[in-house]
């Protein structure tokens, strides 16, 4: 068997891979930020003691968790524009909308999971914390903002990190709508050259490398902002 995969680090293929890595990182970064802030919003809204709102939010979370991410991406890309007026739809189809739709779909998808992970953290906080906060005169939102949420986030770092890693790998799903991220490029090269093992090896190593970076970041964050009860 021939292992010349030096071809991968030269010329056209290397450039395609580099573009793919860049697109993957962009997809991940934007989806993570979007997802995180939407998750905080969901958590905040669910904390309001208004039953119907909680039900609606629960439905939103359930949809985004239970429907496969691939399908969510396709629904946004193919389905959503059908609901828009013609002129808007044509304008969307002109530009490179697939990246945008992928980010939107991934953000919403990950926000549902993030919100549940943050809720795990909130559950771990004893009720006495909230009581104490109210007792010294803080409003409900201030208690959430200054007392419970910071603690909850610290406790939730491992599950949030888990989910971030899964998000990073889920960016490859955007290839079904033609986003030229890493897996897309890898498959294109494999299709042309049939050098399956070489390209899949490179793909594995790149994903592993980037994931280790993300895990390193998470570990640093966990050490820098440890859960309140340690030590």
């Amino acid at each position: 068997m021939d292992f010349d995969w030096g071809f991968l680090v030269s010329g056209n293929y290397a450039q395609k891979l580099a573009e793919g890595v860049l697109t993957t990182i962009q997809l991940f970064g934007l989806s993570w930020l979007g997802g995180f802030f939407i998750a905080l919003l969901i958590v905040g809204l669910r904390a309001i003691p208004f039953k119907p709102l909680d039900r609606v939010m629960r439905l939103v979370v359930e949809y985004h968790r239970n429907v496969p991410t691939v399908v969510q991406i396709m629904v946004w890309y193919f389905g959503m524009p059908q609901l828009l007026p013609d002129s808007l739809r044509l304008w969307i189809n002109q530009g490179q909308s697939e990246f945008l739709f992928a980010v939107v779909a991934l953000s919403l998808n990950v926000s549902a999971y993030f919100s549940e992970d943050i809720r795990s953290g909130l559950r771990a906080i004893p009720a006495t914390q909230i009581e104490a906060g109210r007792a010294i005169g803080l409003s409900a939102t201030s208690v959430m903002r200054y007392v419970t949420l910071p603690q909850a986030l610290r406790i939730s770092v491992p599950p949030l990190l888990n989910r971030s890693l899964i998000l990073f790998k889920d960016t490859s799903l955007a290839m079904v709508i033609g986003v030229t991220e890493l897996t897309y490029q890898v498959k294109a090269i494999e299709n042309l050259t049939f050098r399956s093992f070489e390209v899949f090896a490179v793909s594995t190593l790149i994903y592993l490398g980037c994931s280790l970076l993300i895990m390193g970041l998470g570990a640093w964050f966990g050490k820098r902002f440890p859960p309140a009860f340690k030590g």
Binding site: N66, N162, S203, K230
Partner: protein, 230 residues
């Protein structure tokens, strides 16, 4: 959409069985259920090792977690299927390979959730239990783990639900589960790409929603118990 269900319902549900291996949604559920069943005890051990004070178990668990969280599941399955038989000389059928890959993958993620639960508890709990004379094992089993896992139910459910959907990737090594069935139908039907995917989504949604609802009820029960204690 309903004609897709009526024409291809059997293909969606059981794949090519009995003309071939069990497939379709049945295969998805079997794979997910077995995967979770087998990875949970492993996850428990990994979480305990990572949160514990002994160096060697913690180190080994850390390597495990870092490796298997960092590699995409499709690649774990791919390499396990193609490279392991070459290195070990043992050929394993595709379904078993897929199952092992899922177990290993999920154990890394579930292990971290267990660790988060353990570290989210006040150390006073452990101290009190040990002071009362309970051994490490008894402390974990009766005092710490129930509380830690109860806190982590939303995250655990997240991960269980993820697992069901993660099984869709096993088609690459020829396990014919429900996403594979959808691909079949997509190649036969011409204009029904979106409908086929929506039917597929429906199957996953029903399964995942059942788990989420069960988990929701479990959470409520636990919450009521906790208030009783508080």
């Amino acid at each position: 959409m309903f004609d897709i269900l009526s024409n291809y319902g059997l293909m969606f549900l059981v794949g090519s069985w009995p003309n071939g291996p069990i497939g379709g949604f049945a295969a998805t559920l079997i794979l997910a259920a077995l995967g979770l069943l087998l990875s949970s005890p492993l996850a428990l051990l990994i979480g305990l090792a990572r949160a514990g004070s002994l160096r060697l178990p913690r180190y080994l668990a850390t390597v495990w977690v870092y490796t298997f969280r960092g590699i995409p599941l499709v690649m774990i399955i791919f390499w396990a299927y193609f490279i392991l038989p070459r290195m070990t000389g043992v050929t394993v059928p595709a379904f078993v390979t897929a199952l092992c890959a899922i177990v290993v993958y999920e154990s890394a993620f579930l292990g971290e959730i267990v660790r988060a639960g353990l570290q989210g508890l006040p150390p006073g709990q452990t101290e009190a239990a040990r002071a009362a004379g309970l051994s490490y094992a008894k402390t974990m089993w009766h005092v710490i783990l129930p509380q830690a896992l109860a806190n982590m139910v939303p995250s655990l459910v997240n991960q269980f639900v993820s697992t069901i959907k993660a099984t869709s990737i096993v088609y690459v090594i020829g396990v014919q589960e429900v996403t594979f069935a959808a691909q079949q139908i997509n190649s036969i039907e011409l204009n029904s790409a979106l409908q086929t995917f929506l039917v597929l989504a429906g199957f996953y949604f029903v399964a995942c929603y059942c788990i989420s609802s069960l988990a929701g009820r479990l959470e409520n029960r636990l919450a009521r118990k906790r208030l009783g204690l508080a």
